[in-house]
């Protein structure tokens, strides 16, 4: 199993790096959030420093944008799976001693890795926008681990939802359906303290909120929110287990 998982995982990662267009879009999209949304709001945030916890809105926004970027990487994993089904590569894989579960794991980990490549670019961009980050190596590790958990969780969710699909459009439709409510009902773009009660309830379960909070506490206060870290670990393990079972049973070959 390790041999097959390694082979398919490397294939996923190499395919990303060998497609400059995909690589560019993966990196530029969150950067645009930071540049346009961040710059657009920066002026108002100065007057609301007590609400945001900082007068530099981009400092507040950076952990949130990184969180929402992990949400969208799941779509790429699904698209890669559908491409394999449509071009017959899934059959080529399965006419070897490779199980559907291993295919699922390689796709989930591959798209999570794709998500992680956004982190250094975003950090560099944030520094260029005047954000100062003074995290210890251990704090960096906790933050990256939190983002990795988020990416694994959402990749697994996408793969489970699209396990039976062979339609190119499905991952996009699923992404449109879940991205907006999850993003706007989280603490990614603004603090959740001002939410109405029903939104606070959603936000309390929304993993994006926990990822944003984990990163924000580290960036703004230099402290680790272990509850958020634990929640994300449970979220990733739970969805990984669900995706594993769903793929074993329902992953369509062609």
């Amino acid at each position: 199993m390790r041999s097959q998982l390694w082979g398919l995982y490397v294939r996923e990662v190499l395919r990303t790096f060998r497609n400059p267009f995909v690589l560019l879009i993966t990196v530029v999209q969150p950067f645009m959030w930071l540049a346009f949304f961040g710059s657009g709001f920066a002026q108002y945030a100065k007057d609301l420093a007590s609400v945001y916890g900082t007068s530099n809105y981009i400092e507040f926004l950076l952990p949130g944008v990184l969180s929402t970027s992990m949400l969208s990487v799941g779509m790429f994993g699904s698209m890669s799976t559908i491409q394999d089904k449509r071009f017959g590569f899934m059959k080529r894989i399965l006419i070897t001693p490779t199980s559907k579960e291993v295919i699922f794991l390689s796709k989930a980990l591959g798209s999570a890795t794709r998500g992680l490549i956004q982190i250094p670019v975003m950090i560099a961009a944030a520094i260029a926008f005047g954000v100062s980050l003074s995290l210890s190596p251990a704090e960096w590790c906790v933050w990256i681990l939190g983002l990795l958990f988020t990416a694994i969780g959402f990749s697994s969710l996408f793969l489970a939802i699209t396990a039976r699909s062979v339609d190119w459009q499905t991952p996009g439709v699923v992404s449109n359906f879940i991205t907006m409510p999850l993003m706007f009902s989280s603490a990614a773009l603004y603090p959740s303290s001002g939410f109405p009660t029903w939104m606070k309830v959603i936000s309390a379960f929304n993993p994006i909120s926990y990822t944003a909070t984990l990163g924000r506490d580290l960036v703004l206060h230099g402290s680790v929110d272990w509850v958020a870290a634990g929640y994300l670990a449970i979220f990733a393990s739970g969805l990984l287990a669900i995706g594993y079972v769903v793929s074993a049973k329902w992953l369509k070959v062609e």
């Binding site: 190499l14 449509r86 059959k91 080529r92």
Partner: protein
């Protein structure tokens, strides 16, 4: 003592959909393919050839019946079967972002091979691809891509290779080259090959044993010469300007059977040499527009068994992968 069977299929059925409204793609198929054979599965599109390969390779479930490949049960020992088989698809399936060597590396990982490099080099050398092993395969010609795909199928030294319509859509020269390769690898590596085709001449040229499949059922089986000798008859195809009664044709001595096919009559006769003079006496020669005679061949065997020609009712290519494969070939 006869060689053990590489593929053993008994009363195998495959149904897609529900018992009430589904399609019976394989209907109680029974086959025994000896080790080291090149076995051809000949039939028109939609006959069940690809379905049989999907079932034997574990891609599709079995509805009923039993199947063993390389000595292992396809249902209960699927992973063992898949470690001992290779697969060559109708459309070449490679990772185009990878080089030939990287494709072989991935195949080695999928097959969990430890020492694969020497074998891979040997295969690339055998197929004259070694010099270009580090080149991305999207720059390869169709023939080179086919060779690489066969290398992938052979890398783990399988007992059985499944070739699903390996020459479909190829030009004549590439098809001939592939025939030579199939004959060559059979001699060089001694592997059992199950090949599906709807090209008569391909089955005749490559296969020691052939099963003819139609509508999910095996309707005849044997060596090409055995199959041809079974019918002991010539087929005469006749087109006339005026209608002829079936009774008129059947009344001619030597006629074994006659049936309409489109605007023509298909007539099975014991000997065309004896039949033709009798035919010209039975109907006015100026009423005959066209007449052709076919000596026993796999085509006439199929015609005799089904009343149709191979490819007569083939539908246009619908499979999207075949479409993409065609596009790729058109680009290259």
């Amino acid at each position: 003592m006869s060689a053990p069977a590489a593929i053993e299929v008994r009363d195998l059925s495959k149904r897609y959909g529900s018992p009430a409204n589904g399609v019976l793609a394989l209907d109680r198929v029974t086959l025994s393919i000896g080790s080291g054979q090149v076995f051809g599965l000949l039939g028109p599109n939609g006959a069940g050839k690809t379905t049989l390969i999907k079932v034997l390779t574990g891609i599709s479930d079995i509805t009923s019946g039993d199947a063993r490949v390389a000595g292992f049960d396809v249902r209960s020992e699927s992973l063992k079967v898949r470690a001992r088989i290779g697969w060559v698809a109708a459309e070449v399936i490679l990772d185009d972002d990878f080089s030939a060597w990287e494709n072989l590396w991935l195949q080695a990982k999928l097959q969990d091979l430890k020492d694969w490099e020497d074998r891979a080099r040997h295969l690339l050398q055998y197929f004259s691809l070694l010099d270009r092993k580090d080149e991305k395969v999207n720059r390869y010609s169709t023939g080179m891509r086919k060779k690489l795909e066969i290398s992938l199928a052979l890398l783990h030294q399988p007992s059985v290779i499944f070739m699903d319509e390996p020459t479909i859509g190829l030009d004549v020269a590439t098809r001939r080259m592939l025939w030579d390769i199939i004959t060559g690898i059979h001699k060089e590596f001694g592997v059992t090959i199950l090949l599906t085709t709807h090209y008569i001449e391909e089955a005749d040229a490559l296969c020691g044993q052939i099963a003819i499949i139609d509508k999910g059922r095996i309707i005849a089986q044997g060596s090409p010469s055995e199959l041809k000798s079974r019918i002991r008859a010539d087929i005469v195809q006749l087109e006339t300007s005026d209608g002829i009664a079936l009774a008129t044709l059947r009344a001619i001595p030597g006629v074994q059977d006659a049936w309409p096919q489109g605007n023509d009559w298909m007539i099975r006769v014991a000997s065309s040499e004896e039949f033709l003079p009798r035919l010209f006496r039975a109907i006015p020669t100026d009423h005959i527009r066209r007449i052709s005679v076919e000596k026993p061949s796999l085509e006439t065997v199929f015609l005799d068994l089904t009343g149709r020609r191979l490819g007569q009712d083939d539908e246009p290519m619908r499979d999207i992968r075949k479409f993409y494969a065609q596009m790729r070939r058109a680009r290259s």
